[in-house]
Symmetry: C2
Subunit: 395 residues, 2 copies
């Protein structure tokens, strides 16, 4: 009666839904405080004070026109500010014609993929990855091609990427700092990838775009640097949102930045702006365009996330779990002590620990722990992790 494929998918996704329902059930029995929900990447922190002040300033100003339509690409002055900010970071000339304001990174990815892909063209994704990339690619008429990162380090396996490239390859999605692993792809691996792509492009007579999904780019620890994708790759598109960096996930605000080094980039811009309209986004929310433009240099309190990372990472490794120390984002990707990560998550739920199986990120054998949660909850959860380690003979 409805879309058949989607209705069937709904039935297939019942395992994950069952897990969410199990969480709701546990919370009902034991109380919210006694269930340790690490399943969602929903920042617990409030937006930085500067952001809330800017919002108040605009809303209390009674300035006319704050809530109107503007060009589907976004306010020109907002786009000019974003361009200037990015140009300083990447050293590539950018102006407002390189920026499309969008309703968050998910919108940006859908617009970008649809703008690039012809039917059947392939997009390489590096596993583990945010699994909805696959859906976005298929919605744009493309075909996802999954390439694993290097075992345990989660760094790019450039040789494997090279082998996966065909004459139908159109793009690679990069997400660094990475969800779910917290890994930052190293500068060396990105430069090596760039060389490999240039070689393959010449060999096959194709164009390969780098689509960089960067919501965590300002959430990094211990002075780590995230290599700038626009600097390294000529045909690169950087997509960002303020969901994590300014803790505004509900407001759906972000941007697409197209490198001025893409041949015919003006045409790409026009296609993207048209798609922003026809895909139904129309424009990024008007008030928050203005708010973020005044706060491009602002970020949530990184030390707060670092404290939480350290608390969990130190405890988990102490009781015997294995995990790469995340350099950014707010996820730990922990090796499950048994092969079946879904079974391991079920075992964790017995201790009221809600984790997400790595299988959900094409990273089987691991579980994702989102630590963008209340500090008190992390403290209360530590005992449960110890008991879980004991059950699996780690401690």
């Amino acid at each position: 009666m409805f879309n058949k494929k989607l209705t069937e998918n709904l039935e297939k996704s019942s395992m994950i839904r069952a897990m969410f329902e199990e969480g709701a059930r546990l919370k009902k029995i034991y109380g919210e405080d006694n269930v340790y929900d690490f399943s969602l990447g929903n920042p617990e922190v409030e937006p930085p004070a500067e952001v809330l002040e800017t919002l108040k300033k605009y809303v209390n100003s009674d300035e006319p026109g704050l809530h109107k339509y503007m060009n589907n690409a976004g306010y020109p002055e907002v786009r000019a500010k974003v361009a200037a900010y990015l140009q300083k970071k990447c050293g590539i000339a950018l102006d407002e014609s390189n920026i499309v304001m969008v309703c968050g990174a998910a919108a940006g990815l859908n617009v970008t993929l649809k703008a690039l892909l012809n039917p059947g063209e392939e997009v390489i994704v590096l596993a583990p990855f945010f699994v909805e990339y696959g859906t976005y690619i298929e919605q744009a008429g493309g075909k996802p091609v999954i390439v694993n990162t290097i075992k345990d380090s989660f760094q790019i396996d450039v040789e494997a990427v090279e082998k996966a490239i065909t004459d139908m390859t159109k793009a690679i999605i990069i997400n660094s700092p990475n969800n779910p692993t917290g890994t930052i792809y190293s500068k060396e691996s990105l430069e090596k990838l760039n060389k490999a792509l240039e070689k393959k492009e010449a060999e096959l007579g194709i164009n390969i775009f780098i689509i960089s999904d960067e919501p965590y780019v300002s959430l990094v620890y211990d002075g780590a640097e995230v290599p700038n994708i626009l600097s390294i790759f000529k045909k690169s598109i950087s997509i960002n949102s303020f969901s994590k960096s300014l803790a505004l996930p509900g407001e759906r605000i972000g941007y697409i930045a197209t490198s001025s080094r893409i041949p015919g980039v003006d045409e790409l811009f026009s296609v993207m702006v048209t798609l922003n309209r026809t895909l139904g986004f129309v424009n990024a929310p008007s008030l928050f365009q203005k708010v973020i433009a005044d706060n491009l240099d602002v970020a949530v309190d990184i030390d707060n996330y670092k404290m939480k990372r350290d608390m969990l990472y130190n405890h988990l490794t102490k009781v015997g779990f294995k995990c790469v120390k995340p350099q950014g984002a707010f996820y730990l990707f922990v090796k499950a002590p048994i092969e079946d990560d879904v079974a391991f998550c079920k075992a964790a739920a017995k201790y009221n620990l809600l984790l997400v199986p790595g299988t959900g990120f094409c990273g089987p054998g691991y579980v994702r722990i989102a630590y963008c949660v209340d500090k008190g909850m992390i403290e209360r959860s530590l005992d449960a992790f110890t008991k879980l380690a004991i059950e699996f003979g780690l401690n």
Copy 2:
């Protein structure tokens, strides 16, 4: 290099772009005040005072959690308020499980069409219509089938709709009050359509949904009533936005309401919520969900629009133009005195009048005048309309 079809479409759309560029050129030469731009449905009015007060209340409250993720369907309490409001209007039992909050009506239409359509299924649209419906249908894998309304009255031609129905028909899009004609489809015609659909459904063993795009439902004049679609049609889906009724077009806020009389409506809801996420909308902007929920009974000043409608309608008919008096929305659909509406728009531009050819709405031989503009501009434009009428021998 990019999506081939979209790049080609870009070239095709150059006529409309040329017209916009002509407008910009005229404004540069003659000054903003001396060009009469009736081309865009961008409300000139500010949101009602109640809406701005509610916005201030939330923003100044320092209430935590205003900008976070929520269920992809939207805040449950917001959906419950929308459901209660609609139930009072339509008399059909509705609750929060019938409501999906979306990023405006364009988002709602994309989600709904994708949720309903299997590849190749047909959607009937009643011409003249907002031309992007066709793009939305194609993006969802469907095929638009255009059926003309009755000549001059723009009411539904039920016999023509009946003839257009095949075993692949899945839905009909209704937009009343209509963009571009301002017509409200009569209760009799809708009830007649309902009977015809039920007959055809039984005959062909199919399900036909009514998708009602209702952004102008509260913008009606002279005490006119808009027949309630959820009351009349069993398999109906009402899509609304607050872009026009609360003058919030830039904020992208609206909802989908699915009738509880749709068999399997819970499954439809789940598919829609999933699509809201995967199509990249994720959720309707969080702050404005709360704002509109407190202002469901509020609307912009209708008398202001009525005054503008009357000013233009009276003058245009006085100088010899032919036009159905619009009962709602903020558009006049005026018969062009020559067959070629594009040529007529070019002639109008000589008098600094920017109009949109009806061809752009599958309504050739007419032009659309959007009167959601400054009163002063309308006053200043009247002479230009007189001169245009004289040029075409109407006066």
